[in-house]
């Protein structure tokens, strides 16, 4: 089975069922099929072949899904780009992946750097005509007549073909492209659908971007079961999302911890009744036990709260906490989802005893193939026994897993995995900075907030605002430190390295 094969199965079964609602408009599965066909034919007419990479840079909406399934139908492997990232990172991901086409919207295309626009090897295609001044190719406009042309014969893509590359922060600071096959994504879709018990009657309120593995899993699971995705990109104004949740009678809502922190603190979400809501799911980092308890206590018993755990490298999902065990296992990521094996292991590869801390190792058909063109980073996480997640945990007497820390120095800010090294490198671009240390501290809203400590070169001065402005110009908004401290020296450990533990305890 392929990812676009899941769509084709649903179209055959429920062509007129609602697929996606955004604002006042609802599209059916037949609409999606036709639009995806148009994209596939367009790409084929431009000589995109099986295995070619196609970039996708768009906010959530119908066009994104048409471009997504159309590209797969054409045999391409998608490179889904985070529209919150600065333009220079798009240039890196497109170049690194060797993308031959970028599907985007006019407003986003306008912000791309010249290195992308002028690249002879990359065709930039806007899927709308929102900007009449936009001079790039915009012949592919979703919603207009289907492209005429020679008969299109979809290539014989199979489960082992690459379907998706998602870039994440790497431990060295350089982004890495997680490569996922059709087989990986289909397997994880079926696994998730099974434990969520999703059916064609379900409709999820989606505030998570589709380019993020959690958002992507919402899209794929609902396409697979023939349910509906209700897109709302306005979570900055959470009351608007609650209106959508109510008006569209959504049966599910999925979010990261900061979504639930905002819903609990700045809306009447917990005071209202939600007769249509069947479940809430949470992933993307650890939610505080206090907030989990509050959600569980204040929500009607008819709404299941599903705490989940995963990684982009696992297509999305690895573990879930069955809701009936939530009260006595708060703080746990739960147990492996069906088809996945999770083992807590010592450094020597042996299995930890009950209560002993080790690294979570995951195995299953949803585990990635490796990082794109990066055998060194791949060899650090993929071994014969599976994916070494970098998360340190122990298993209790009932087999439930509790994460206690990370083997690697990554920050989880909001739902985003952030490399301290990348931020340090950006700060060190400032000539007056001699040393920089970036780390995470506990934060009620974000899980972890990013803090930067730096030491100026002797005789130089620098202020926080200069550092933050430089970060804003070179980093995605979620990577900008919440606080910058200017020190005369950084604390050292016995081996002379920066003692991050001292910094974390000082600034927590």
């Amino acid at each position: 089975m392929t990812v676009h094969g899941m769509l084709e199965t649903t179209v055959a079964r429920r062509p007129d069922a609602p697929f996606l609602t955004h604002g006042d408009h609802t599209w059916t599965y037949r609409d999606l099929d036709r639009a995806a066909d148009r994209v596939a034919r367009f790409l084929a007419s431009r000589n995109v072949e099986r295995g070619d990479r196609v970039g996708l840079l768009m906010e959530n909406g119908f066009e994104y899904t048409a471009a997504f399934f159309g590209s797969l139908r054409a045999g391409a492997c998608l490179v889904a780009l985070n529209n919150l990232n600065p333009p220079e990172s798009h240039a890196h991901h497109l170049t690194d992946s060797g993308a031959v086409v970028l599907l985007t919207r006019a407003a986003q295309a306008r912000r791309l750097p010249e290195i992308v626009i002028d690249a002879s090897s990359l065709r930039v295609v806007a899927l709308d005509r929102a900007d009449p001044n936009w001079e790039l190719e915009s012949e592919l406009v979703i919603g207009e007549d289907l492209l005429d042309g020679p008969d299109f014969k979809p290539p014989a893509t199979g489960a082992d073909d690459l379907a998706l590359i998602l870039y994440t922060s790497g431990s060295t600071g350089n982004p890495r492209g997680v490569t996922l096959t059709h087989g990986n994504l289909v397997a994880n879709t079926n696994q998730i659908q099974a434990y969520l018990e999703l059916t064609a009657d379900d409709s999820v309120c989606c505030v998570l971007p589709f380019h993020y593995s959690f958002g992507n899993s919402l899209l794929l699971t609902h396409v697979n079961c023939g349910g509906r995705v209700v897109v709302d990109n306005r979570f900055a104004f959470p009351q608007k999302v609650l209106e959508t949740l109510e008006q569209e009678r959504c049966t599910g809502f999925s979010g990261v911890p900061s979504h639930y922190a905002i819903l609990a603190s700045r809306t009447d979400f917990l005071k209202r009744r939600w007769p249509h809501l069947r479940y809430l799911s949470q992933a993307g980092g650890a939610m505080s036990p206090e907030l989990t308890r509050r959600l569980h206590a204040d929500l009607p018993g008819s709404i299941r709260l599903l705490v989940m755990y995963g990684q982009t490298e696992a297509s999305a999902r690895l573990a879930w906490l069955p809701p009936d065990r939530l009260p006595d296992k708060i703080g746990s990521i739960g147990v492996a989802i069906p088809g996945v094996t999770l083992t807590v292991k010592r450094d020597d590869g042996s299995v930890c005893d009950e209560g002993e801390t080790g690294e979570i190792v995951a195995d299953g058909p949803n585990i990635m193939q490796g990082y794109w063109n990066d055998s060194v980073e791949t060899a650090e996480v993929l071994f014969d026994d599976g994916l070494h997640t970098g998360d340190l945990a122990y298993r209790d007497r009932d087999g439930f897993i509790f994460i206690v820390g990370r083997a690697k120095t990554m920050i989880k800010a909001g739902a985003n995995r952030v490399s301290p090294r990348q931020i340090e490198d950006v700060i060190l671009e400032l000539e007056v900075v001699a040393e920089a240390a970036v780390f995470g501290v506990p934060d009620e809203l974000l899980g972890e907030a990013i803090v930067a400590c730096l030491v100026p070169v002797p005789g130089a001065t620098i202020d926080q605002k200069t550092v933050l402005l430089h970060c804003r110009n070179h980093l995605a908004s979620f990577k900008i430190p919440s606080a910058v401290h200017i020190l005369s020296d950084l604390p050292r450990n016995a081996s002379g390295k920066t003692d991050v533990r001292v910094l974390v305890s000082t600034y927590s």
Binding site: R234, A236, F237, Q239, K240, D268, G414, K465, L469
Partner: protein, 85 residues
């Protein structure tokens, strides 16, 4: 300080770190133009409550009130009028 200048100052200092250029128009959406995100909205509410001494109701967290300098000025002005009425 005039209200609009006070709000512009907050946006420029907190979201743009002193760089005025991206805030080229007081009617522009702070959200759509990448000036503010969902966490930023919470910081903005903290500013309205902490520095301007307003009580913000949950139902008032909507773009019509908060998503541009002009909307913010109109919103704060309305809130102040209600308070003094």
């Amino acid at each position: 300080m005039e209200l609009k200048a006070q709000i512009r100052d907050f946006v420029i200092e907190n979201f743009l770190f002193g760089d005025q250029a991206p805030l080229s128009d007081d009617a522009m959406s702070l959200l759509d133009n990448g000036i503010m995100d969902s966490v930023g909205v919470m910081e903005l509410v903290g500013f309205l409550e902490g520095d301007l001494f307003l009580e913000i109701e949950d139902v008032e967290l909507v773009p019509e009130n908060l998503d541009s300098v002009d909307n913010l000025v109109a919103f704060v002005t309305r809130k102040r009028e209600v308070r003094t009425a």
